[in-house]
Symmetry: C2
Subunit: 227 residues, 2 copies
């Protein structure tokens, strides 16, 4: 029979589960097929049999756990698109943080994405096109609504970067935060507190731009690349 997309749920599922954890923990290169197979309790040949190789398994893992993450934490955390922009931004930040910091399966995809950003594999291009860019567009449109139309494209990009950067920090520097402050950033209460701080910090950061735009337009017009 065809062993392409959706048969042999048992073994296949077990491999996807084990691979999700191992890839998230060790990265693509650091994860070994033997480690994955041991955790999934299957023979080393199973990965090649079901997925056709380590790389194709990795691509499947990305797909599988992205669906899972999207289902558990929608992009705006359930906030409706016609809600006040402030609420939309808060939803975005909370979703982004929970996807990265929540314990276990929900965070697997976030970790994989993070690894793709710092050391891309062959899946990078697809991920940027299908996942990063759409999300970036949504955040940019939220920011745009908050700062007004007189702010340049580039400054909106910088503001988006400031927001995303604050969120990513808690994942990237997780070991440091733990070591330095003995703070567990994966507890839901803590995530909520962090989210609210980033929300308030960014609200003020954005407000600045919306009031000052006329002073700085002369400096930025040179490098404006609108589409």
């Amino acid at each position: 029979m065809e062993h392409d997309t959706s048969s042999n749920a048992d073994c296949r599922e077990r491999i996807l589960e084990a691979a999700g954890e191992i890839f998230a923990d060790c990265g693509f290169r650091g994860a070994t097929v033997r480690k994955i197979c041991e955790r999934a309790k299957v023979n080393v040949a199973a990965i090649n049999y079901y997925f056709g190789g380590k790389e194709k398994l990795y691509a499947e893992v990305l797909r599988h756990w992205h669906d899972f993450a999207t289902k558990k934490y929608p992009l705006l955390f359930g906030v409706r698109e016609d809600a006040p922009v402030d609420e939309q931004l808060r939803g975005f930040i909370r979703s982004f943080l929970f996807r990265l910091l929540d314990k276990g399966k929900p965070a697997w995809f976030g970790k994989l994405m993070m690894r793709e950003m710092t050391e891309p594999t062959r899946s990078f291009e697809r991920l940027v096109k299908e996942i990063v860019r759409p999300r970036d567009r949504i955040l940019a449109s939220i920011v745009q609504k908050m700062v007004g139309t007189s702010v340049s494209e580039e400054e909106i990009r910088l503001c988006c970067a400031s927001i995303i950067g604050q969120c990513l920090y808690y994942y990237n520097a997780m070991y440091v935060v733990t070591r330095l402050y003995h703070q567990d950033v994966s507890k839901p209460d803590e995530i909520e507190r962090i989210a609210e701080h980033i929300m308030q910090f960014s609200l003020k950061g954005l407000e600045h731009n919306s009031k000052h735009d006329e002073d700085r337009t002369k400096k930025e017009t040179e490098s404006r690349t609108s589409f």
Copy 2:
């Protein structure tokens, strides 16, 4: 002769140079002794002869390039400790960004540090104690001066995280920024622009927290806007 700390400058130096680049590019696990030796134009046995193994070489590389980075980009970018706190913060941000984004050797240590944070090696503990914690203390004291004494330790930590997070973003998401906006974040002009944005964004973010402190009009007159 003793081949312990500072002899055989030629071969040793060449290995440190090559290893700095390869480790920064590929990480500890990703870098192979053969790749390093090939670039350094030495035999594969040289690393074990001069440093006693890959791991000890790595520790030496961290030491060596940290000294280099500190010399080229001091912690506050040359701003004196008695300068206005705003200037100190600006110096800190510029130093942090240039250390990460500047091209070639100056960035090697920043990249190695970043890798240590996301996937620690045996050098992690020492780096946190000797480098991360002191730097964190300096930033915290700057932030403390800016927001006043009535702000809790935890809120200062959150603010420091927001500042560092914004800086780290441009390194961690470098591939994404390049792909998404075709923007080269390693050009000095661009780094300066990013630094100034983070400076302004953070100034407002901090101001929010110190809203209840009234006595802070002396050094920030240039950037007072809303409220």
